[in-house]
């Protein structure tokens, strides 16, 4: 089964509100990454957080990582209609070059 489970599966918010999505995983990791996917397109890398980091910021994005709970969250502040997309977490288990993707959260930001 897939390493990552994300919740919620879908989220609909008003422009200007914050959006939070969560990712849980099963094994130890080297790092965890978040990607965005616009409908019918490839994935775009957003942010990476290493296993020894707890929080990271990039513009309007804030990522947290709790390795004891094997979970991560992505917060998008002051959301915009252009943030409408699917968001995936991906984990990088030690000893492998493979990435394991979560099930994704579909975010819709209403103007």
């Amino acid at each position: 089964s897939q390493q990552g489970e994300e919740d919620p599966q879908a989220l609909s918010i008003q422009e200007g509100e914050n959006a939070t999505m969560n990712c849980s995983y099963k094994t130890s990791i080297n790092n965890l990454q978040w990607y965005r996917q616009n409908s019918g397109r490839g994935l775009v890398h957003l942010i990476l957080i290493r296993s020894n980091e707890r929080e990271k910021h990039s513009g309007r994005l804030r990522v947290t990582l709790d390795t004891s709970k094997k979970s991560s969250s992505l917060l998008i502040t002051a959301s915009r209609a252009a943030d409408t997309a699917s968001y995936f977490c991906a984990t990088d288990p030690p000893g492998t070059y493979k990435y394991i993707f979560g099930t994704g959260t579909r975010l819709k930001v209403l103007a």
Binding site: G42, F88, Y97, F101
Partner: protein, 111 residues
């Protein structure tokens, strides 16, 4: 903007046809990946490559095959397409750094 390309972007073919999905990158990345993704669903790794002449099957069983004769090129072939192969196929690459760069994807419909 990542320099990774996929062709064709869309393909509609009949059952039993042989097809090759092309993926090329100009970044000199040694690792390349193929994922299969049904609409709105998670990504499943079907093939990956560590470098020239090195290919491995991924976590999802696939009837496709791949080759890596040149660093920049990682084509995926289906010898006999079936309706169950209908999906989106995403190619990605990475260097020794952690970030994967994705192509725009190929949407395949097998009638």
């Amino acid at each position: 903007e990542a320099d990774i390309y996929q062709t064709p972007r869309y393909l509609v073919i009949g059952t039993g046809k042989k097809i090759t999905l092309e993926c090329s990158q100009t970044m000199g990345h040694d690792k390349m990946y193929w994922y299969q993704q049904d609409p709105g669903m998670e990504l499943h790794l079907i093939h990956y490559s560590y470098g020239v002449n090195s290919t491995e099957k991924g976590d999802l069983s696939s009837e496709s095959t791949v080759s890596r004769i040149r660093t920049e090129h990682f084509p995926l072939t289906l010898e006999s397409a079936r309706p169950s192969h209908t999906s989106q196929y995403l190619c990605a690459s990475k260097s020794s750094a952690e970030t994967q760069y994705f192509g725009p994807g190929t949407r395949l419909l097998v009638l």
